[in-house]
Symmetry: C2
Subunit: 645 residues, 2 copies
Amino acid sequence: MKVDHLKIQQKADILMDKSVVIFQPEGRRHEIEESETLLEVAREIGLDIQSVCGGKGTCGKCRVIVRAGIDRLSLISKLEKRLLTESEIANAFRLACQTTIHGQSTIVVEVPHQSRVGKQRLLLKGLDTPVALRPSVTRLVIHLRKPSLTDVKADVERLLEAIRDQTGGESKVSYETLRQIPNAIREGNWTVSVVLRADGELISVRPADQLPDLYGVAVDIGSTKVAAYLLDLITGEIAATAPMTNPQIPYGEDIISRILYIMRGEKNLGELQRVIVSGINQLIEECCEKARIQADDIYDMTAVGNTAMHHIFLGVNPTYLSLSPYPAVLQSSMNLKARELGIRANPGAYVHTLPNIAGFVGADAVADVLATGIYKSESTKMVIDIGTNTEIIVGKKDWLMACSCASGPALEGAQIKHGMRAGTGAIEHVWVDPETLELGYQTIDNGKPIGLCGSGIVDAVAQMLSTHLIMLDGRFNPNAKTERIRRNGNIFELVIAWRDETSTENDIVITQNDVREVQKAKAAIYAGTSILMKHINIKPQDIQKIFVAGAFGNYVDPQSGKIIGMFPDVSLQNIEFVGNTAGSGARMALLSTEIRMLADRIARQIEYLELGADPEFMKEFLNATYFPHREAERFPHVMKILTGK
Amino acid sequence: MKVDHLKIQQKADILMDKSVVIFQPEGRRHEIEESETLLEVAREIGLDIQSVCGGKGTCGKCRVIVRAGIDRLSLISKLEKRLLTESEIANAFRLACQTTIHGQSTIVVEVPHQSRVGKQRLLLKGLDTPVALRPSVTRLVIHLRKPSLTDVKADVERLLEAIRDQTGGESKVSYETLRQIPNAIREGNWTVSVVLRADGELISVRPADQLPDLYGVAVDIGSTKVAAYLLDLITGEIAATAPMTNPQIPYGEDIISRILYIMRGEKNLGELQRVIVSGINQLIEECCEKARIQADDIYDMTAVGNTAMHHIFLGVNPTYLSLSPYPAVLQSSMNLKARELGIRANPGAYVHTLPNIAGFVGADAVADVLATGIYKSESTKMVIDIGTNTEIIVGKKDWLMACSCASGPALEGAQIKHGMRAGTGAIEHVWVDPETLELGYQTIDNGKPIGLCGSGIVDAVAQMLSTHLIMLDGRFNPNAKTERIRRNGNIFELVIAWRDETSTENDIVITQNDVREVQKAKAAIYAGTSILMKHINIKPQDIQKIFVAGAFGNYVDPQSGKIIGMFPDVSLQNIEFVGNTAGSGARMALLSTEIRMLADRIARQIEYLELGADPEFMKEFLNATYFPHREAERFPHVMKILTGK
């Protein structure tokens, strides 16, 4: 029946002289007129397909299954032959980024669960650092003298004079406000309510009986997730929050892939900017619905993100961030009208972007410093904000130093054979019985396992290490006595979940290559901390506290992170997982112009260390790929756990 | 043949279920879908039809002749019956503002010459007051240090630092410029050319080999005409000029009609703003073509206009200007991005609107003061800027006082039976032989006479007065011995041109009512000068000079103006006709930020006198309706001419 219906549809479309793609299981239908890959078509209609490499045909994450019209598609490419198994090819699997449509036809394509970006567990929570409420906008009721034939001062000058009389301060009108004034003052019978920015700009004038609610939005734009916080600027309280996966992900999972995408076409920067702005507008809408307010009640916004996200959000070319010496385009904070960016808010509202520190240490790191308060600490502390790119800041009230390392997406489940984001069905914790070597796991929402997310991968590696299934150099132990370890071709792998337990109907494994990816990620992070400590000449024991920030850090088992040597070997009680401090810092800046000035000062004062310029970095990195480290004496506590001595 | 073609077209249109209007002689065709008057349709497609009353059916200027489809039109209205003659109605004349289309049909309508706004003689010339060149924008070539791994300052901060090193001044980037910087500095190999505003804002950054030309546009937005001047901001010279009739005219000839139009619908303000902005863009395009530059080379603009034109240009509601006590919305000067208004210029360009003085004394009067230099005069001088609304400013370097009077459109040829604008075929000069009472005239471009323009009307009245065809109270002399004077019903009229001389195939006359209109216009102007002089306690002989500004003033015979008592009775050599000084002032402000500050100071310091608040105004006005004045002793020189004593 279904096939018949499809055939009729196909014929109709051919008669109409066009090609149509239908994506299953949603059944979303899209007509195409020119040669496009299936991935491009999916992007156009906002259908989520994973693409770590940004469509270059190297990651193999965008597998789709062709259900109809396979003979109208481009032939299997060399890259597909390399990344798909023979059985997959036989079963009509294709890579969406490699496949184009020939001639007029209707193509039906299924996007399997594993190729989805999917709904993710997104961390909104972060430190709630108290801030004295000094928002950039205030509201006032102003009484004007009515004009007469002997007092014909103009409306605007009359209003500004009344504000001066009432506040003692000078103010000025913006262009939008100018246009509101004549009607507002008459509708309000010469009494109006105004919204005034701290710099004296009048951004709203209404009749007095329409006293505005004052809301603001703080946004944290991560490479992977975006979080919005709606704050009541009168009380300082959070009115609503909303998270989403970054809608730029279909254009490339990591920053470099997105920059490569931008380099490929003149319009691509604008496209990525539109995508993130429209995503933020969705979050704003969601927050407004939850709090039952209008977008028009939003008079201010702050935004943080890494430097690349910051640049793309502003429509600023981030290309040079990826080229040595990796300079940012803009370090300073910036105020611009929300409507210039297309952000849904009151027409007078501004967006304040917090300052960046360097090409790979962005406004999010400044927010981390604000939220953790290390800028005013009496003792030395460290912040490690783990993501695809990891920022490390160390210091105290007199000095701060920061660096950035490319820890890669492995800790977020990417570039891992069965890796996935932290969504339903992701294995998030793994344990191995040291006696029997039997293995247990726990999935998010207790869903049937689909793959491993970051915390599950780190757990798995740490457990394999402590039970000697892998060795200190990361190689699988060929003598391990468990049927779960096997060879797949030349590659060792450990079965975490057997196929009859999973929803993919395949075994979920962690491979030798996956362990290598974890080694690289944790080595990059540790080497960053180590080079920083060398430059300021301190030892791990001099660090009173390590704050681990970022979504990953909130779910990972601290002990597992410590065992694999991700952090300097400090006591567990000195490690604090603080969640999304970037969001916390953005909220603080939204509530206080003093915090904004403080952020500017921090960004100027913080010393940036370019790891690539340190001749010892590569050696440090290579040594740190060992578990916990090639120089075992740096990790006395961990070695004691691993060797029992 | 033509009719057959039309019938086929009609049938096709009826089959297509729509109505079509074709305007002749151009043959412009427009499909309509909802009930609209012919005037509204004409406006939509930008076809010029006169409409002094703004479509209220009271001026009768929008006569059209229906050539086909008359049975598909609304029935003749009461207003039409009053304004059209029986013979006109029999010949299918209609008022475009009163006529709607019923049902599906094709209507062919001819717009006769007399109903056209037409191509006008527009005055661009004005005083060329020299100004020291200090434009608001300058260009600089800036050399940057190339970043390295040990010097990773961001692009923007690097550029601002280089500018500070080179100029000693602080600068800031605008949002548009921010986005140009990363590519420009690399394309220019770390040498760029920048455009910097006097307030430190960087509005353009390009590779150094693309050194920008710096142009600016000064615009004078009159109710009737708009003039644009393209200036080279490096040399200060005029590169091109372009005039046009104000494209808002189809919405109402005078300010009040346009304000009434705005009050009639929510979207009408936006519509009038769009119309003027798009008109200015046409002028800019024309100037750019003449000077062979790009709109992108325009980095600055100044604009002047009366307060209503100023408000509409900015999209600010001018409604309250027409309601006592007539307050302006904005007095101060304003800077805003040209692109916020939709003006064609460089994306970083600003528009500077000069300050207004009051609801009916606008930025154009400030420009008059700048151009005539009365603000720095040692002796007392007066500026009379004649238009539908006449502004009068009197003073010297210590003080200035201004007022405004509603002189009406008669001096521009409107509300006069055979009045017309100063275009081809307009009678611009008239003389009467005092012996024979024979009459001669001169037309613009020596065209066949169509009607009388302002200077022709004033000439005719002055000549009738000196030859006693009319009496001092304005009534026609019933004893005048000339066949040119006759009664038309109850109304006396003087034939200026016989029908066989004219292109309208009708006699061109000046009627008793027309003389009354001139009396009202000149009385309003004289009463304004007189009340002003009373307030500052001076006599005509204390006025060292009267500058007569405005287009009208440039073509009128000074002696005629003086004889009818339009100006205080000063010696002719003390009257100077200065043309479009509003445009001159706009050009001065474009060339110098110091002039802008001066203009702000003048606008704040000038004292505004509301004539309506003076209890003697009405008496003064009525007395001034006499020729030259009921108190003849105020005009000793004129009385000598009229009476020979």
